[in-house]
Subunit: 265 residues, 2 copies
Amino acid sequence: MVRRSLQVFKIGGKVVEDEAQLTVFLEAFSRLSKPKILIHGGGKWVSEMCRKLGIEVKMVDGRRITDAPTLEVVKMMLAGVANKNVVSKLQGFGCNAVGLTGADGNTILAKKRPVKNGMDFGFVGDVKKVDGRVIRNLIDAGLVPVFAAMTHDGQGNLFNTNADTIASAVAVGMSAEFDVELNYCFELNGVLKDIKDPLSVISDITETTYPKLKHQGIINSGMIPKIGNAFDALKAGVKAVRIMNSQHLPKLAEGGEEVGTVIRK
Amino acid sequence: MVRRSLQVFKIGGKVVEDEAQLTVFLEAFSRLSKPKILIHGGGKWVSEMCRKLGIEVKMVDGRRITDAPTLEVVKMMLAGVANKNVVSKLQGFGCNAVGLTGADGNTILAKKRPVKNGMDFGFVGDVKKVDGRVIRNLIDAGLVPVFAAMTHDGQGNLFNTNADTIASAVAVGMSAEFDVELNYCFELNGVLKDIKDPLSVISDITETTYPKLKHQGIINSGMIPKIGNAFDALKAGVKAVRIMNSQHLPKLAEGGEEVGTVIRK
């Protein structure tokens, strides 16, 4: 049996919350002809709304501490505003999107992150299981799943979960049936040889070249965990991981393979 | 071919926004064995959040005027908080719910309500078309669609739409393939002979008995448009319309047919 291809994309709050950038991305996304899935964040809006409502914003190492009032705001801004904006815009481009959280269709089951060394992240979930079967049924019905970065525990509780982590878990979960390419979109053009030169994109990284690049200090410290996660996804069955600028998706949609940095085994 | 049965339920904000009432309803809903769909409102939360954010609440004849800032709050509270609370609670009861707006899967297409006599309702949509095929695909995949009362125009715009209207449109739209029962849940036990006696429920109303009940003044003025809409749904293919107390769903789930008022041709 020929395995089908699937493209998984992750965009962060910076793209979702910028009308012009979001339009460029979604218009190109809608033109991709292979089966596809989009995962989005929207953290800045959550922080802004917390401030408007007098809810303290607490971050530890870039991760949000999600107490009960903050969880309500995550539902509002992520599952509500961000997700429905993306879905309705995609519909406007003729792409039959369906917005989901991990609770919808029981697609992404998680467990509350345990308290460790007295540190309680609150309603933050660590992914336990992705139900690839439900997601595949949606794709086979001609729908394009669009995930807000939320999960649930199957006991009635919703959780805030990092969008990068969800993208990786969904990509791995779909790898049993599809040849999956996982695309992380951000504001840089890819992994850069020289952080000051936006054109110095390293076009590909493999298990062979990675140690060398790291050793030479070419890959900077901020990039190391991202690339480590990419290799983990590859080990778990994902075919390729791309790190790219969200605004370069039109190039990719037009068939250009030379976009961003592609990480392969 | 044997036609399948489908039960469509509508609950209002009063049920969605009351933890205890919502739990009674959803626990029973999860036990209904036939294919089913839930439509919910959540208007009180929208008004409360508008007030918190300093957005003026404007209602005309009980209908919300939805300007751009109010539409954001509708996305937040209806598609975000209310919808995801219902979905995650249903998952907790073992019911594989999937939350939707009319934009998701292009299920409910609408057009902006035209300005009439200088009256502009803003981002309020009148339903044009329900895509029964997508909804049936979800049901056939073992999912239970849960609609927040929002629609879209297919051009990127979301609308606020009355939940009763959506319930009726979905019930009619599904009638091509299913024998549909449409259930409106509210705080009374049904259509009452005597509004002061909660036990005086009229168990059934037909095209034959309705004019008599109306003539005798037994059906009060507030009920007349509701029953008029029910007969419209019956004419458009729905098999039966029930008006019932949301807190009596456990009785219905246990096989009791004698719940609320059933309206048939």
